[in-house]
Structures are given as structure tokens and as C-alpha cells.
């Protein structure tokens, strides 16, 4: 129960952060990505602030054996720099550059009730779901002897 409330609280704080920083507004994001245009560096400051605070928060977590409300830390385990990582990131970057919306702002932005947001979120879910399907571990084939 505490675990779930903490997740809700964290989500609300995240959403607040997106709203205050205006990162929920694709126009603001695109203005940062538009180096050749009327450049707005704000997103760099959002990321900078987020990384700095997270750095210290994560260090505090690293000093613990387990999280406060859960059984264990669930950390990413992969370490190699492979084509999936780079290719996926490139594809993500293109999509992000097209509209100026990424997953967090996409869901948070639903609060504004725009049909454009809903359309993007539906496509987002379809894209993610499709990727999950194709990335799913294939069922091992039992060799058939003739």
C-alpha cells in the first residue's frame, strides 16, 4: 500500500515538475531542439536540475541495502552499447523531434484535454506495445527429426 502511494506521490511531483518547467508544452521543447531558430535553452536547465537532484538521491539509495517500501532495488542490468540501444535512441529522437512530445509529457499533457494529445498517446501506446511484442523472447523451437 505504501509502495503504491509513494508511486502516486512521485508521479504527481513529476507532473508538477513538467508543468512548472513547461516541458509539457511541445512548443517549448521544440524551441530547445530548434538550434537554428529562435533557440530556447530552457530544456537544458530542466535536465540539468533533474540530473543534479537525482544524482544525490540515487547516491542516497546506493547507500541502502533495500528501498524503504519495497523488497529490493530493481536496477537496469544491461551494460553493452549495442545496435538496439543506439538504433532505438535514434528512432526515439526522430519521433521526439517531429512533435516535441516524449512519454512523460505525453501522459501529463492529457490534463489539458486536447485531442492532439490523445492521438499522440494512442500512437505511443501502439508503438510501444508493438515493440514489446517483437522484442519478446521467441519461443524456443523444438528440433524435429525426420
Amino acid at each position: 500500500m505504501k509502495q503504491n502511494l509513494a508511486a502516486l506521490g512521485a508521479g504527481v511531483i513529476f507532473g508538477l515538475g513538467l508543468a512548472i518547467s513547461q516541458m509539457v508544452d511541445p512548443a517549448k521543447v521544440l524551441a530547445f531542439l530548434d538550434l537554428a531558430g529562435n533557440w530556447d535553452p530552457s530544456l537544458a536547465f530542466v535536465m540539468g536540475g533533474a540530473v543534479i537532484i537525482s544524482f544525490f538521491g540515487f547516491r542516497a539509495a546506493a547507500a541502502r541495502i533495500k528501498p524503504l517500501f519495497a523488497a529490493a532495488f530493481q536496477m537496469p542490468k544491461a551494460t553493452d552499447l549495442d545496435l538496439r540501444l543506439i538504433g532505438g535512441a535514434a528512432v526515439f529522437g526522430v519521433g521526439w523531434g517531429l512533435v516535441g512530445i516524449c512519454p512523460g509529457p505525453a501522459l501529463a499533457g492529457l490534463a489539458f484535454g486536447l485531442k492532439e494529445s490523445a492521438i499522440f498517446v494512442v500512437a505511443l501506446v501502439v508503438g510501444a506495445g508493438f515493440a514489446n511484442l517483437t522484442l519478446a523472447k521467441p519461443v524456443p523451437k523444438i528440433p524435429v527429426t525426420d
Binding site: F14, S21, W96
Partner: protein
């Protein structure tokens, strides 16, 4: 550099950092939105509630800000429907294949000094910069 808003950017960023720290310290989870969402497609028993609640928190946080802080807040989306669909599909696909997005790699991964996340972030940033340059300054898609 018209609309540069360093103070609200830093404050908002700090809140995002606080959120990531809270989720890790309390629940032991990485606040990567694409990953949290991806774990619901399809949902797995016993691993659903915290994901749904975190994701629900996102628009609630925005709604709270609109209510208490800035009732005039608005977002501006000028993309056409086909572009919205294309963008959404690519962001969904890419974030799953690449194991993360701006929150997962850009914030959490970088905060952990992960080499993978550094490379992923540099890659999607470069791809995004190029895409905006092409669409706004070469093809003239406007914005």
C-alpha cells in the same frame, strides 16, 4: 533567445529529480516513463498498481499546477494528425527498443553515470536536433 525561463526550468527539473529520487528510495524503481508504461503492455500480475498510479500522477500533477499555480497555462500542439501518429509510433517504438527515453536515460541514467544512458541520450538528442532542423529549416514544416 526569447522565452528563456531558467528559474522555472531549474525548479521544474529539481521536482523531476526529486520524483526520481523518491521512486528509487521508496519503491526501488527507476522513473523512466517509457519503462513504467512498457511494463503495462501487457500488464503483469503483481506489478501493475504502482505503474498505473505513477502514470496517473503525471496528469494529476499538471492539473494541480493549473488549479493552484497557473490557471492560464496552456500547451501548443501544431502538428498535423499524420505527424502526431508518426511521432507517437516512433517515440513508442524507439523508447522500447532503446530501453529508455528522456526520463529513463536522460535523467535517471545520467544521474547513475551510466555509459549506456550517456550514449543513448547523446544519440536521441542528436537525432532530435537533426529532425527539427530538417522539418523546420529544410522542408519548412513550420512550428
Amino acid at each position: 533567445m526569447e522565452n528563456f525561463t531558467p528559474v522555472s526550468a531549474l525548479i521544474g527539473g529539481a521536482l523531476i529529480g526529486a520524483s526520481s529520487s523518491i521512486l528509487l528510495l521508496l519503491d526501488g524503481r527507476i522513473a523512466g516513463i517509457s519503462g513504467i508504461m512498457g511494463g503495462l503492455l501487457p500488464p503483469e500480475r503483481g506489478d501493475t498498481a504502482w505503474r498505473v498510479l505513477f502514470l496517473l500522477g503525471l496528469p494529476i500533477g499538471v492539473a494541480l499546477w493549473r488549479l493552484l499555480g497557473n490557471p492560464a497555462a496552456a500547451i501548443h500542439i501544431t502538428s498535423s494528425v499524420p505527424i502526431l501518429v508518426a511521432g507517437g509510433l516512433l517515440v513508442g517504438l524507439g523508447s522500447r527498443i532503446g530501453s529508455g527515453c528522456t526520463s529513463g536515460h536522460g535523467v535517471c541514467g545520467m544521474a547513475r553515470l551510466s555509459r549506456r544512458s550517456l550514449v543513448a541520450t547523446a544519440t536521441f538528442m542528436a537525432a532530435a536536433f537533426v529532425t527539427v532542423f530538417v522539418t523546420r529549416h529544410l522542408i519548412g514544416m513550420g512550428g
